[in-house]
């Protein structure tokens, strides 16, 4: 126990740095994922057929393959074509594109569950299709998508743990270094697991708050 506490004490500053890096990457990739997922989701529902096909292929590709291999492909594979990214950019890009595919699917489901009458009514007061999507359909779909999106935030926090394979010093990357430095892999990985539990737990509670704040009577997934 004495040994464990000493280890914890020595490792602490590195773990904090790692946790911050994990949060930074998760946040950046989530934002990129939103930027990609939002137009992709809308395009898959309301776009012309050719666009729906292309976006569908993107989603299938990223949902059908493991994140870890996607990361290897981007960081180690693309340079043979002359496309080279620094580690951090490669990680953000891969996680962002991956998350974008999932977010697009969640949004697509939400868009499709907004009743057809909403679009009809919006068009009937003279809105264009674009206006109707922006001010009637999307505000509803975004609220409906919130629970699925919360899951995606949690998934993202956990997904970032693979970026250590391209030598990024996130929580897991620090763990790898500490484990070999102190020859105590089991203790180090257990401490890191606890760090993730704290990160995930706090994020979960914050998201629950957000969901409660944006709730509107009658606009839920259960009600028709």
């Amino acid at each position: 126990m004495q040994q464990f506490l000493e280890l914890l004490n020595n490792a602490f500053p590195f773990l904090v740095a790692g946790a911050l890096e994990t949060l930074r990457i998760a946040t950046g990739a989530l934002l990129l994922g939103i930027a990609i997922g939002l137009p992709t989701g809308v395009g898959r529902v309301y776009g012309p057929l050719w666009l729906q096909r292309i976006l569908g292929a993107y989603v299938t590709l990223f949902q059908g393959t493991p994140l870890l291999i996607q990361l290897f492909f981007v960081y180690y594979g693309l340079p043979s074509l002359g496309i080279t990214f620094p580690q951090l950019i490669a990680a953000l890009l891969t996680l962002g594109l991956n998350s974008g595919a999932y977010q697009a699917e969640y949004l697509r489901g939400a868009l499709q569950s907004v009743g057809a009458g909403q679009m009809t009514a919006a068009r009937a007061i003279g809105m264009s299709q674009g206006q109707a999507i922006r001010s009637i359909i999307l505000p509803q779909a975004l609220r409906l998508v919130l629970p699925a999106w919360s899951n995606e935030v949690i998934a993202m926090l956990k997904n970032t743990a693979v970026v250590f394979v391209i030598a990024i010093p996130d929580l897991m990357g620090q763990a790898k270094i500490l484990a070999s430095k102190y020859f105590a892999p089991l203790s180090i990985y257990t401490i890191v697991a606890i760090c993730y539990i704290v990160l995930v737990g706090v994020t979960y509670l914050l998201l629950r708050q957000l969901e409660r704040r944006t709730q509107i009577p009658g606009l839920t997934n259960e009600a028709e």
Partner: protein, 216 residues
């Protein structure tokens, strides 16, 4: 032309990893199934003590990245028995999947109408008999869509055992790229192989679901 030759050689080499990937996935899914069903039963039908233990397992494991679980269990297992990376990695992945499968089966058990239990008890079955022969067969069918989803997730997560040295698809791709110095071809081949595998699995699961759908 050279590109295609490279691609064929590369694919040939990586294909041997395909069987390892499938092996890891199946072992992990079966282990996870056992953990998941048992834990779900404990959570729904167990006494307060078992309910608490089951909940802690499911909540804690799902809050930790699967890759961290694999590392931890790998070192735990290595301390007690001498298992190959394949078995250690697959067991660890199965233990992690079990927590997710717990949630799937818990939902399924809870959505079997309560009247089923009452009716079973009314014809003189014990509680355990009712769970075994009335509730369980229905819950399994209800769990099938969620379980199918988990199966494709485990298939994709199986590549994580790469980190403990299991020669699955990604490890093979890494090896061949070191040899041919064509990382683009190697990782593209790995991605395509995986894509084919997940699409095939999805088809298979949909077929299963249609076949065993419960009319309720």
């Amino acid at each position: 032309m050279e590109f295609f030759q490279d691609l064929v050689t590369t694919l040939n080499f990586i294909l041997q990893g395909l069987w390892v990937t499938i092996g890891v996935t199946i072992v992990a899914l079966v282990v996870g199934l056992v953990f998941g069903v048992v834990t779900a039963m404990l959570r729904v039908y167990g006494n307060a003590f078992f309910q608490r233990i089951a909940t802690v397992y499911s909540v804690i494991v799902r809050a930790v990245p699967v890759i961290v679980i694999i590392f931890i269990l790998y070192f735990v297992i290595a301390r007690f028995v001498n298992l190959s990376p394949f078995w250690a990695g697959s067991l660890a992945l199965g233990f992690a999947s079990g927590a997710y499968q717990t949630e799937i089966f818990r939902g399924a058990f809870q959505s079997v109408p309560s009247g089923q239990m009452v009716a079973a008890r009314a014809i003189g079955m014990s509680r355990w008999q009712a769970i075994q022969s009335i509730i369980f067969p229905q819950a399994v069918r209800l769990a099938l869509p969620g379980w199918g989803n988990e199966a494709t997730l485990v298939l994709k997560d199986s590549t994580l055992v790469f980190v403990v040295g299991v020669p699955e698809i990604l490890r093979r791709a890494q090896q061949v790229s070191a040899r041919t110095l064509e990382p683009f071809v190697a990782y593209a081949a790995a991605l395509l192989l995986y894509l084919a595998l997940t699409l095939l699995t999805t088809q298979l699961l949909q077929w299963l679901e249609r076949r065993y759908r419960l009319q309720m």
